[in-house]
Amino acid sequence: MKSIYKHHLFWPLCVLAALLLFNLFYSPDFFSITFRDGHLYGSLIDILNFGSPLILVAIGMTLVVATSGIDLSVGSIVAISGAVACLSISKASDQNMLSLILLSVLMAIVLSLLLGVWNGLLVSAAGIQPIIATLILMVAGRGIAQLITGGQIITVTSDKYAYIGSGSLAALPFSIFVVAAVLIAVTLVTRKTALGLFIESVGCNPAASLMSGIRAKWVLISVYMFCGLCAGIAGLLLSSNVSSADGNNAGLWYELDAILAVVIGGTSLNGGRFYLLGTVVGALIIQTMTTTIYMIGVPPEITLVVKAFVVLAVCLVQSSAFRAAIASRWKTRHYPGEKEITRHVS
């Protein structure tokens, strides 16, 4: 019993369940799923479908956070990736050509990988703090995305491209399969090879990792590269879902939602242990929250207020200073230095 309570997924799943329960009472048709033209429709399906890009970005962010880093540029990469793919498709005369779609998707993915490498190099080779290093691409990336789209919204009329983000496979949205594939792949790579161990080790104690013979620099570069890749795929899903690319608004605030999802999922911003499934649940919580607020008729922008309180609550729970303050309210702090030491000793 105790082990269930202590499992890292326990609290995130509780929150998700509570959200769903709320919906069960408040808006019963939240759970209704209908079948039409070979597609499933319903709020739950929508959450999965609209949540997919966020889940992807958050998965990439999880590994970056595990190395005690952060990637602020994901939102910009989402915009760039969608813009590149849509531009390349819109230029063609036959927008439904399979080779064209594949080439465009490949181009977007390679570019996202390169942008990830750029971040990784700044962090590992140049030794710049992650939050500062990725800020550069966050600012410039928006401009690059707008440059690609020419400041316009590029629309494409390609059923094949639209399939990625809005098509159905076995009655379920295709995007769910993309997310599942990435999730399975990254789980295999991190848990079946030693990469996961190395990431956690570098995030927790870089000096000791180096002394143990781990190539910390390569670990960092690969993590940022993967984060770029995830953001790139998310950009494709997003742009294909609406069959257009918007350099201005695509992926706006994604970095913040992704970080939030990672933190809710139980991965600490100080690095170390990471929980991919926790992140997925975290992203689902955010998406469910958005959908719920939308369903009950409150202006969707209010989500921000709720998010603010979630961020604060999660961080306060993770803050040892806060817990100590609660635990020893009555104790006066005579020797601040000593407390520090006893904490280190124990």
């Binding site: 952060i70 140049a126 030794g127 710049i128 703090q129 939050i131 500062i132 290093a133 800020l135 550069i136 691409l137 966050m138 600012v139 410039a140 990336g141 928006r142 401009g143 690059i144 707008q146 440059l147 020419g150 400041g151 350099g247 706006l252 913040l256 970080i259 933190v263 911003l269 202006p299 922008e301 209010i302 989500t303 921000l304 207020v305 709720v306 998010k307 603010a308 309180f309 961020v311 604060l312 961080c315 306060l316 803050s319 040892s320 200073a321 806060f322 303050a325």
Partner: protein, 322 residues
């Protein structure tokens, strides 16, 4: 060794500004005029005010992501109180300034007492302030109060025929005050000490808690003041005002030569950082064919150059010490 090391980044910033202004003057007729220079202040008054608050935060080793939202919230609260509730601007303006300061000090207290990263706390602050805007209203509230429109339209003519707005004067006054605070008061020096080495500052007996909380209070106040100025500029309150503005602000501070890790930099540098952003926009508008997104790309490039440049400087410093 004639040039003091610590002045190198700020001199680079000033030189860059002069070079860009000169380049604009060569390329476009009508660029080289006092009015163009004055317009830099008129159009960027709110950026200057926010960036000055942000400078203190970054100098202390922190960051404040809530500034853009705070501006939006200020416009929203002002507009709703003045326009919908009919309050007098004389009450509303001090009230929103107080609101900004209190909001900032709340974030500062959380950062200091619960040891949560400034990034996260101010991120929550950003969500919260933006969310409150929509609690007030989702739509734009246009202001037609006489005081606001008067301030917005007042042009103060300078000798030589050029003019400047009241907002620009407020911004310049804030800049002057901030330079004094940063360099001639204990609070200012404590901010530098805190950004240099928090542990040492504590052992040297400096009031770390008070300084840290005050820094965020000041930043909150500055963004609220920028919000007031922004209200003059836009004559409306809207939840989507100043979206992404925190990035412009941080960029201005970094381009101004302030080290993002804290402890090194000048308010004067931020002043020129803001002007550089203004010049880029002016050049782009004079050109007419260049699109607005080039601003972001150029600023990104400048950010990259400055961050790398500072990194090299600090690397050389640690080699020198050996």
């Amino acid at each position: 060794m004639f040039l003091k090391h610590k002045y190198v980044p700020i001199l680079v910033t000033i030189t860059l500004f002069l070079a860009m202004f000169a380049a604009g003057s060569f390329l476009y007729t009508g660029f080289f005029s006092l009015q163009v220079l004055m317009n830099l202040f008129v159009d960027n008054a709110f950026l200057l005010i926010t960036a000055i608050g942000m400078s203190f935060v970054i100098l202390s080793g922190g960051i404040d992501l809530s500034v853009g939202s705070m501006i939006a919230l200020t416009t929203m609260v002002s507009a709703s109180l003045v326009q919908q509730q009919g309050w007098s601007p004389a009450v509303v303006i001090p009230l929103v300034l107080l609101m900004g300061a209190v909001f900032g000090s709340g974030m500062g207290a959380m950062i200091h007492y619960f040891k949560i990263q400034p990034f996260i706390v101010t991120l929550a602050g950003m969500f919260l302030a933006r969310g409150f805007c929509y609690v007030i209203s989702i739509d734009t509230i246009t202001i037609d109060n006489a005081f606001y429109t008067n301030v917005a339209q007042t042009k103060i003519t300078l000798p030589g025929g050029s003019f400047i707005s009241i907002s620009a004067i407020i911004a310049l006054a804030v800049a002057a005050a901030a330079i004094f605070i940063a360099h001639y008061t204990r609070f200012g020096r404590n901010v530098y000490a805190l950004g240099g080495n928090e542990h040492s500052a504590l052992l040297m007996g400096l009031p770390v808690a008070r300084t840290k909380i005050l820094v965020y209070t000041f930043s909150g106040f500055c963004s609220a003041l920028a919000g007031v100025v922004f209200t003059f500029y836009m004559l409306s309150g809207y939840g989507l005002h100043a979206v992404g503005f925190e990035l412009d602000t941080i960029a201005a501070v970094v381009i101004g030569g302030t080290l993002l890790t804290g402890g090194v930099g000048y308010v004067l540098g931020t002043f020129f950082g803001v002007l550089i952003q203004g010049v880029i926009q002016t050049i782009i508008s004079f050109n007419g064919t260049l699109s607005s997104w080039w601003t972001k790309i150029v600023i990104g490039l400048l950010l990259f150059t400055f961050i790398l440049f500072q990194r090299v400087l600090s690397a050389r410093r640690s080699v020198l010490k050996q």
